[in-house]
Structures are given as C-alpha cells and as structure tokens.
C-alpha cells in the first residue's frame, strides 16, 4: 500500500469528519464561542499594568487622640483627595478593629486602615506615624491588591509630606529640588516593542497555541472512541485500508478544526482586544502546525489507551488543567515555585506558547526561537515513535 493511497484515504476520512462538523450548527457556534469566552474572561479578569482596583470598600479606624490631631486630619484629607481622583477605595468610618473584622466577615468590607492612637503625636515629635493595613486573609488576591494600592497611596502621601518638610528647611529649595532629595531615582518603564503591556498580549498567543495543540491531543481520542462506541469505526476497519490512514485522517480533521479555532482566537485578539502581531503571520501559522505535530503522537497514545468516550473525556480534563497552568499559558512560569518550574520544562506547550509569544508580541524570527522549535520537533518525533506501534496494537485487539 503506497503512501499515495494512504494519504488519499486519510483525506477522505478528514473530509468526512469536517462535513459532519460543519453540519453541526450548535457545535460550530460553540467552536467560536469557546475561545471568545476564554479570551474575554481571562483577559479582563487578570490585571495588566493599566488596570487597577476600583471602589473597594475599606473601613477607616481613627484611634488618633490627644490635643492636636492636625496630622491625622491632614492624612485623611489627603487620602480622600487622592481617592477622589482614582476612585480606588470606598472609604467608610469604623469605630474599632472589631468593627472591621465584623464587616469583613459580613462581606461589607474588603479591608481596613487603622491610624494609631499616637499618630499625630509622633508626627509632631518628628517621629514616624504608624498606619496599619488590615487585610482579609480569606481572599489573598484582594488582600495583596489592597496592600499594593494602599502602599502606593501612602508612598505618594509620604513623598508629598517629605517634600514639604524639605522645602520648610530652606526657602531656596524649589519643589523639583525637594523631590530630587526625597526621591532621587526617577524610574521609567519602556517595552522593547511599542505599546503598553497588556494581559491579552501575554495570554492570546498561549491560548491560541493551546487550543490548536489540545485539539489533536484531546479531540483525537474523543473522536475515535466515539466512532468505536457508535460502531462506525467497524465500517472503516473492514475496508482494505492502512490502519494508519484512519488515525491520520482523524488527526487531519481535528487539526483543521483546531487551526480554525486558532485563527478565530487570533482574529478576536486583534479585532476585539487590540493586539498587534509584530512577527510574520507565516511564522505564526508555521508554529501552530508544528504545535499540532508535537502533540499528534501524544494524542494517538491517549487514543490507544482510552477504551471509551467517557475515559477519553476524563483523561482530557486531567491532562488539560496541569498543562494549562504549568505551561505558562495563563500565569508566568517565573512566578511558580521551583518544582513547578521544573515540571513545566518537560511540557511542550511551555516552549510552544513561549515561541508564539515571542513571535506575536516581540516580532521574533525563526533564529530567535530555534531552541523552542527544536524541542517541539524532538518531542513530536519521539511521541510518534511511541504512538504508532501502540495504536497498531490497539486497532487489532
């Protein structure tokens, strides 16, 4: 049986699969909705540099007492002034710590600010005034964001206060000079390519890559086990065709579906979320295809192992989640603990999404991502070498 008939049979099977797919209206709609939801959800929920918290309910406890409370009054006024510009917080007065705890427990507050009883006195005496940020431990993300936001606010207020004090020391000092004394470093941020960094830039290439690769890795076992269950697989198996053309045809069909989804994601990323592709489109397509190649083998292995559709679905879920999180598609690998970073080095999706990100966002060329490409090719080849004998055995039980 020649390679030509093998390919022609594969094409027939792929064509049949795609015809079925396109007749399934609801399936088609979902095919487009799924990546759209995924992009929108993840892209909007996770913060990029220009997104900030807004209207976070925070309780304010003022323990400051004594004869002179001007510094604490000034602090509160300053806080309100800054907040009226940024609308980050929704401040409310609370009488004591227990009050904050109570409100946090009820869910009315996300945290609190406590002004210590000797705040004004300390400031007047030329000492540091103590402020406490109360956080909600049940929600670490909110706690961290509140802390970061308040620290920024307090930092800004401290700077202003320090500037004022420096200026008070000498009348010749201008506002700019005083700033140079208080904050000698002016930190500026600039990207290697134009544009502000956005979380979409980070996530779109990864999701695109993931969708395409998952389509062969998970779509293949599901598609084949389904045909086995319905019985249509027998119809192909009794035909005098190479067993490989069945899996090749199925893979081809699933790849086309995956690529289609990938392109939808790309179009959405560009059209809806304003992502620019800095690299060559051809290289992007090439990367997607290479991603498919590197996962086909794994898909066939899973097909050979999964006995029915249910198992195939469960295997898909089991593998998909670690892949999604460990490959740095959604969260940077750098922010993971060391052992997870080590695991992520063994996942081909790590390299694929990394390469895709470099090409799409940074405009990298082939030579820049040669290491990623090599790893994907080797992984794909090794997996196919393992998969083919396994599959042959499965087909002729």
């Amino acid at each position: 049986m020649g390679a030509k008939t093998l390919i022609s049979h594969s094409m027939r099977i792929a064509w049949k699969d795609l015809t079925e797919l396109f007749r399934n209206r609801l399936g088609l709609v979902l095919l487009i909705l799924m990546p759209l939801f995924m992009m929108a959800m993840i892209g909007f929920i996770y913060p990029s540099s220009n997104t900030t918290i807004s209207n976070m309910p925070v309780g304010l406890v003022n323990f400051d007492s004594g004869n002179n409370t001007i510094p604490s009054q000034a602090f509160i006024r300053g806080l309100q002034q800054i907040n009226s510009q940024t609308h980050m917080l929704k401040l409310s007065n609370v009488s004591n710590m227990a009050g904050i705890k109570d409100e946090v427990q009820k869910g009315d507050l996300d945290g609190g600010i406590v002004i210590s009883s000797d705040f004004s006195a300390s400031i007047m005496n030329g000492e540091q005034g103590t402020l406490t940020i109360v956080t909600d431990q049940s929600n670490p993300t909110i706690a961290a964001e509140l802390q970061a936001a308040l620290s920024a606010v307090f930092d800004q207020m401290s700077t202003l206060l320090a500037q004022e004090k420096v200026q008070n020391l000498s009348s010749t000092v201008t506002a700019n000079d005083s700033l140079a004394v208080v904050k000698p470093y002016d930190v500026q941020t600039e990207g290697v390519v134009p544009g502000t960094p956005s979380y979409f830039n980070f996530i779109a290439p990864g999701i695109m890559m993931m969708t395409v690769m998952m389509s062969v890795m998970t779509g293949l076992p599901v598609a084949i086990s389904q045909e086995k269950e319905v019985g249509t697989m027998d119809g192909m198996m009794v035909a005098p065709i190479n067993r490989l053309s069945i899996i090749l045809g199925k893979a081809l069909g699933q790849t086309t579906r995956g690529l289609l989804q990938g392109f939808i994601i790309m179009a959405l990323a560009i059209g809806l979320f304003g992502i620019a592709i800095h690299g060559s489109i051809l290289l992007v397509v090439g990367l997607l295809l290479l991603g498919v190649f590197s996962f086909v083998g794994l898909g066939i292995v899973m097909t050979s192992v999964a006995k029915d559709q249910e198992t195939a679905q469960m295997m898909m879920m089991t593998l998909m989640f670690p892949m999604m999180f460990l490959s740095g598609v959604m969260f940077p690998i750098q922010s993971m603990p060391w052992f997870m970073q080590d695991i992520s080095k063994f996942l081909p999706l790590t390299y694929a999404s990394d390469a895709m990100r470099k090409v799409m966002v940074l405009g990298a060329g082939v030579s820049d991502i040669s290491m990623d490409l090599m790893i994907m090719i080797v992984f794909g080849a090794v997996m196919i070498a393992i998969a083919v004998p396994l599959f042959r055995r499965m087909m002729t039980r």
Partner: protein, 343 residues
C-alpha cells in the same frame, strides 16, 4: 441452496479461539462454509456468535487458531480478506449528519472503487432498497427500517463474495424482518453471495439457512441442516402433540401431567394444549387420561419439532432471553407446524 462446487469451501475455520483476558468468548471452534451457502450461527446472547463474526471479518484477532476466507488467511492477508467481505452488524454503520449518498460514497471510496463505477453502483443499491427518493436526506432523519436497509447496502458496496450479517433483524418489526430475509435470499440466489448470519431468532435460522451451527457457551454444539437437526429429536423417542379439547379444564391438565409419559404441558389458549411426551404408548395414554375426565378431544396434531426444541434438547436449557423473539416465534408456530405424522 445446493452448490455447484460442492467441495469448494469459501470459509475454512480451524480451531479458532478468542479470549478476552480470562474470559473465553469463542472456544476452539472449527467449521467450513461452502461457496454460495447461507450459513447460520444460532444461539443465545453471549454464546460467542458475534465474536466469531468479528474475528472472521478481521475486526478482532483470534487468540488461537485461524481461518481462511476465499483462500486468504485472516491474519496474514487481512486486506485481501477485507476486499472479499461485507459486514452488517446490529450497530448501524453510518454517519447521521451525512446524507445517504454521502455515506455510501465515503465507505465506497475506502475500497478504491473507481468513482463512476461507485456512483452507478450506489444508485443501483439505493434503488434496490427503495431509498432513491431519500438519497440526499441526512440518515439521522431515517426510520429504523430505512437505516437498516442503508446498513445492508453499505456492506454491499464492494460486491462482497461473503456477507456477514450479525443479528440483522434485531429490534426490527416483523414486516422489516421479512424484508431483510427476502433481501438476503435474493442476494444469495442472484449474486451467489455466501452468507453467514448470526441470530438468536429461530425463525431467521429456520427460514434462511442452508446449514445451522448451534452455539452455546463459546462452542458449536451441533451443526447441520435445519431438517437434520430436527431429526435429532424426531429420531429420538420424543413426540410433540397439540391437542384441541373443547371442554378443557384444570382437572384434565392435571390428569395429563399425571401420565408417566408426559415431559411438559403448556396451555396455549382456552382450548389448546401443547404437550411433549415420550415412549411408544404415550399417545394412547394421553387420550385415555383426557377421556377419563370426560374431556372431548376435537383434534390432535403431531407437531414438527422446532429449532427451539432442538436447542433445548441439545443444551438442556432454553434460548434465554428475550422479549423481541416472541412475535416471530408465534409466526413460526403458525406456519411451521404441519399435522403430518401421528404415531
């Protein structure tokens, strides 16, 4: 159907065994099928009929032994075997979202039939089963009967010399079953197609098959023509009687049961009894018993043993299962029982 080439076996099964881990589904069976024959494998669900068919049609590998189809070994020359065979299983092998024609073109194209030949053949086959009108409708919209007809012609795309039919009438209404049987007969008569059919319905086996292999617990326990199989009973000392008693009462039934010669009594309706008796004086003693209770015997038929009786006789148990065999069984009794032999 008597074959011209009497000695030519198109299927030759040698010590075939198929086991799934510890479970032996087919246990060392051997048989051969002549070209142009209709061969039936009869037995209850789980007897190993379908597994035998799957192995023969290259869908499963035998654990031990092998078989040859048209001279080709099912293991060594599987693709040659596949060119010769067609399979119709109880599962509908077709894609619901494709039209009838698209389905047939897809499966046909896997056999490398030239496109124009294939198209002509598909038109003929659709016409043959009266589906031409629906050729461009998606098969998902078809009725069960239409789907089964599609399922059958799909298997005929490569004009197989051997057609495997796995429970082809399962779940079909009597009308559709008759159609399928007629179609199979016609195919065998006109195209000289060898047909292997598995069924747990006696009526299928009896009406269709030249020879029947009775399978039970992974073994072929008997193999012969339907007539010869039935002779196993009639040759023995057993007689099946059907009595019509005008004033049938529980008393009379009890009296018959009390006869030493009675094996079984079944009441078919308010006036008819079917009894299985043995021994030479059986007939007389039953009549005596009825008369002793003032019963009026209106008529007596000596029933031909059915394949079901044969199965019971050989295996010691009934073809266990199942509701859908009841209707055809009644057909069978009505038409199959002839009052021809009174001892």
């Amino acid at each position: 159907m008597v074959n011209l080439m009497e000695n030519e076996s198109i299927i030759d099964v040698q010590n075939l065994t198929k086991a799934f881990n510890d479970f032996v589904a087919v246990d060392d069976i051997s048989f051969d099928v002549k070209e142009g024959e209709i061969f039936g494998l009869l037995g209850p669900n789980g007897a190993g009929k379908s597994t035998t068919l799957r192995v023969l049609s290259t869908l499963a590998r035998p654990t031990k032994g092998t078989a040859k189809i048209g001279g080709f070994d099912i293991l060594k020359h599987d693709n040659e075997v596949r060119k010769l065979i067609g399979i119709v299983s109880e599962k509908m092998i077709m894609y619901n979202r494709l039209t009838a024609k698209e389905n047939l073109i897809f499966f046909g194209s896997l056999f490398d039939i030239p496109r124009d030949v294939l198209k002509k053949r598909i038109d003929e086959l659709l016409e043959l089963v009266q589906l031409t009108k629906w050729k461009d409708a998606q098969v998902g919209t078809f009725s069960t009967g239409m789907r089964q007809r599609m399922n059958v012609i799909r298997a005929l795309l490569n004009m197989p010399k051997v057609l495997f039919l796995d429970e082809p009438t399962l779940g079909l209404d009597p009308q559709s079953s008759v159609e399928i049987r007629e179609f199979v007969k016609k195919l065998n008569r006109e195209n000289h197609t060898t047909i292997i059919i598995t069924t747990h319905m006696m009526v299928d086996a009896d009406l269709l098959c030249d020879r029947i292999g009775i399978m039970d617990h992974a073994k072929i326990v008997a193999l012969d023509t339907s007539t010869n199989l039935k002779k196993m009973i009639s040759g023995a000392d057993t007689t099946i009687l059907k009595l019509e008693i005008g004033n049938l009462s529980p008393d009379i039934i009890q009296a018959i049961q009390a006869c030493g010669c009675t094996d079984a009594v079944t009441q078919e309706n308010s006036t008819h009894l079917k009894i299985i008796v043995h021994g030479n004086e059986a007939f007389d003693s039953v009549i005596d018993a009825v008369r002793a209770k003032d019963g009026k015997v209106n008529s007596i038929e000596n029933l031909q043993p059915t394949l079901e009786d044969v199965f019971l006789h050989i295996t010691g148990h009934e073809v266990r299962d199942n509701a859908d065999q009841k209707i055809p069984m009644e057909h069978h009794r009505r038409f199959g029982a002839a009052p021809n032999r009174i001892r």
